[in-house]
Amino acid sequence: MTKTGFVIANLFRKKTRTSLTMLSIITAFLLFGLLQSVNALFNAGADYLGTARLITQARVSFTQPLPLRMRQEIEGVPGVEAVTQSQWFGGVWQGKDQLIALAVDPMRFHQVYPEWDLAEAQWKQFADTRTAMVAGRKVADQYGWKVGQKVPISSNIFPMKNGSKDWTFDLVGIVDGRDQEWKDKATQVWINHAYFDEENQFGSGSGGIYLIKLKNPDDAQKVARIIDAKFENSPDETKTQTEKDWNLGFVKQIGDIGLIVRWILFAVFFTLLLVVGNTMAQSMRERVPEMAVLKTLGFSDGSVLGFVMAETVALCAFGGLAGLALATVAAIAIQHTGIPLPLRVDWHVWGLGVAAILLLSLAVGLLPALRAKRLKIVDALAGR
């Protein structure tokens, strides 16, 4: 019998126990995978946004719109390549679904975000049609919008001049991302700011926040400081951050929930450690005489230690990987149910999972393995 065969045979000696232990490891890693992907939402989130863009908002809060005249001043700052205003529209689809609808300057927006894919002719149409809107692929598919269609969107903030909050826009294009990460993000709706500005009842001249593309990402801090200094001590003081920090701040607002997720992870892991640890210890206790026999037959202390460790690692690895696979499938299933939670069990979560598997095997396997190594043949055979 080979060494591998020996380890496997030992594992399946008590089928019930091995399969039950395996099942508890699988459930634990299923939970680990899902919770880690939730955790990732709170922590990193916006890695791919990079630092090539800045966002300028009112110092007091991003909900306080900045005046439109500031755009020209920001455009004049050295190092700035393009600037667009972006005003939250408070869009609502059919009286219930909140849309991420933003009023932007079409051509400037196109310059700031080259990552969004749309034919040049359509960008031009977006700019030239007063009532135009473009929609991200995901949101267009979700509601079945077709190019050329009139889309009624109401705003829960801005009434039109006639007092109605039911706006209508002409869909002139469907925007897709140029790679997978951007494709996943194509959930927004953009409307022409010029039309919004002249038609909304609260009066014109407000720009919302400013999205800025830099010539050189290394200048981010310098440019941000220059912009903020420009508007200091005015009623419209600004706060300029990289797009990444801005998004991160947004997510952090959801608050202490990330912390609670970590607590849960800790509880799950602690529980798991004890369950598996105990099972391994028990199976070792039962096999003390066998180990002695192995040693009598001439197996070295090291190889006995190896046997025990191999058993633990096999059990943890098998259960852990199966659990992570299940979590991956579960996350995909959650995506398909339409719950707006971009859970993804990606390589990052897998990496952490594998690290956890190794840690777990070490933690639960080392003590019994060392015990097996130090075993004195005479004592063990005598049952002492």
Binding site: L20, V60, S234, L259, N278
Partner: protein, 392 residues
């Protein structure tokens, strides 16, 4: 037969200390399940009760039609005057309608110990009637703001969690300095806000009008009168809801999300705990095979053996559940946390570990113990006496 059950169960339970290791698996497994379950729902409970405390049935909130939340709403001065004169609104002691035109703007403060990240905080401008409408609100430190000055009183929740929200400090908003002159307590969602005078808020934030009107109703039924009158007025386009309806709608989403999370996490963990319990109880039965067989040979029935193993599993689970509930209580009860509320501002609230939640947690623990104990106890009862006696 009962005497048999008592005898065997007694022996089993008394021998638990002899084999702590395996039994501990059930106890700790269930402590984990119940602690996680209780903690998650205590969070949902705390959030809901904070908002529910804010909502009263005889106070109406009037916002611009279709706004859904106060921060989206805007009402002109003329509109607010019209609303205040509408029928159904109670008169105050001065004979004027008991109604407060309020302005809601959003400011940013940084969290204590994390100066890089700022959070949205509601800044509410209120009229004097606003304090009559919220009788629970008391200034507990410092003094009330003076109308016309850039002075703020801050909620206890904000004071606890954010920088500069303390008496004597200044908060900078829109190019001007605001003095914090007092801290208030109200036991509800307002504790997450900064309050000032409506007029000052309007001038400082460049607002011509108001966000909403809060009005005392003559009685709970007057909401209908008020709503009918305001809807009939062609000069107005507003939504009228009781304060209670407004806040309970806001808790729904949070409750649903946390509820779903709790169900999924608890279900998966409970499954893991069942496997662990099965493992432990199978092992317990196996190590005692000889003992059980001896009992059977002495004439003890199969049922008492079955019941005794079940009871052992149940007792261990219950102990685990109690420890879990205790952990949740000690670690989380009254811990203050904050999250983003419907107005896109922070709502500070505290975990509430209620007896009902602990009860539910214990029911889960017992259920897991029951399932985990069932199969092993059947095996124990069916064990053939002769083979078991020989095996040891």
């Amino acid at each position: 037969m009962f005497s048999q059950i008592f005898a065997i169960t007694g022996v089993n339970l008394k021998s638990i200390p002899e084999r702590w290791g395996p039994s501990l698996v059930i106890v700790i497994g269930l402590a984990g399940v119940v602690a996680v379950f209780t903690a998650l729902l205590a969070m949902s409970e705390g959030f809901s009760s904070t908002l529910a405390a804010t909502g009263s049935r005889d106070i109406a909130l009037v916002m611009r039609g279709g706004s859904e939340v106060e921060v989206n709403s805007a009402l002109g001065r003329d509109e607010v005057d019209l609303i205040k004169l509408a029928p159904g609104i109670r008169k105050g002691s001065d004979g004027k309608p008991l109604a407060s035109g309020e302005v809601l703007v959003i400011g940013e403060l940084t969290k204590k110990g994390d100066p890089t990240n700022s959070a949205n905080i509601t800044v509410r401008g209120v009229e004097p009637a606003g304090f009559v409408l919220r009788p629970k609100l008391k200034v507990v430190e410092g003094r009330m703001f003076k109308p016309g000055l850039r002075e703020l009183i801050v909620g206890r929740g904000v004071a606890r969690q954010y920088d500069n929200a303390a008496v004597g400090r200044t908060i900078r908003m829109r190019g001007s300095e605001w003095n914090v002159v007092g801290v208030f307590e109200s036991g509800d969602a307002h504790e997450s806000e900064l309050w000032t005078d409506t007029g000052v808020a309007q001038t400082s934030f460049g607002r011509n009008g108001y966000s909403s009107v809060l009005a005392a109703l003559e009685s709970e039924k007057s909401i209908k009168t008020l709503e009918a009158a305001l809807k009939a007025d062609p000069r107005l386009n507003v939504d009228v809801v009781t304060q209670q309806t407004y806040f309970s709608a806001q808790t729904k989403q949070f409750r649903d999300t946390i509820g779903a999370l709790a169900v999924v996490v608890t279900a998966i963990m409970a499954l893991g705990a069942i496997f662990a319990a099965l493992n432990t109880m199978y092992a317990a039965v196996a190590t005692r095979a000889k003992e059980i067989a001896t009992l059977r040979a002495l004439g003890f029935g199969g049922l008492p053996v079955l019941v005794s193993v079940m009871l052992e599993a149940l007792v261990l689970s219950l102990v685990g559940g109690l420890i879990g509930a205790l952990i949740a209580y000690v670690l989380f009860n009254n811990v203050s946390v904050s999250t983003l509320g419907a107005n896109f501002t922070q709502v500070v609230f505290a975990f509430k570990v209620t007896p009902a939640l602990v009860g539910m947690g214990l029911v889960i623990a017992v259920a897991v113990g029951f399932i985990g104990g069932l199969l092993p106890s059947i095996r124990a009862a069916r064990m053939p006496v002769t083979t078991a006696l020989r095996a040891g």
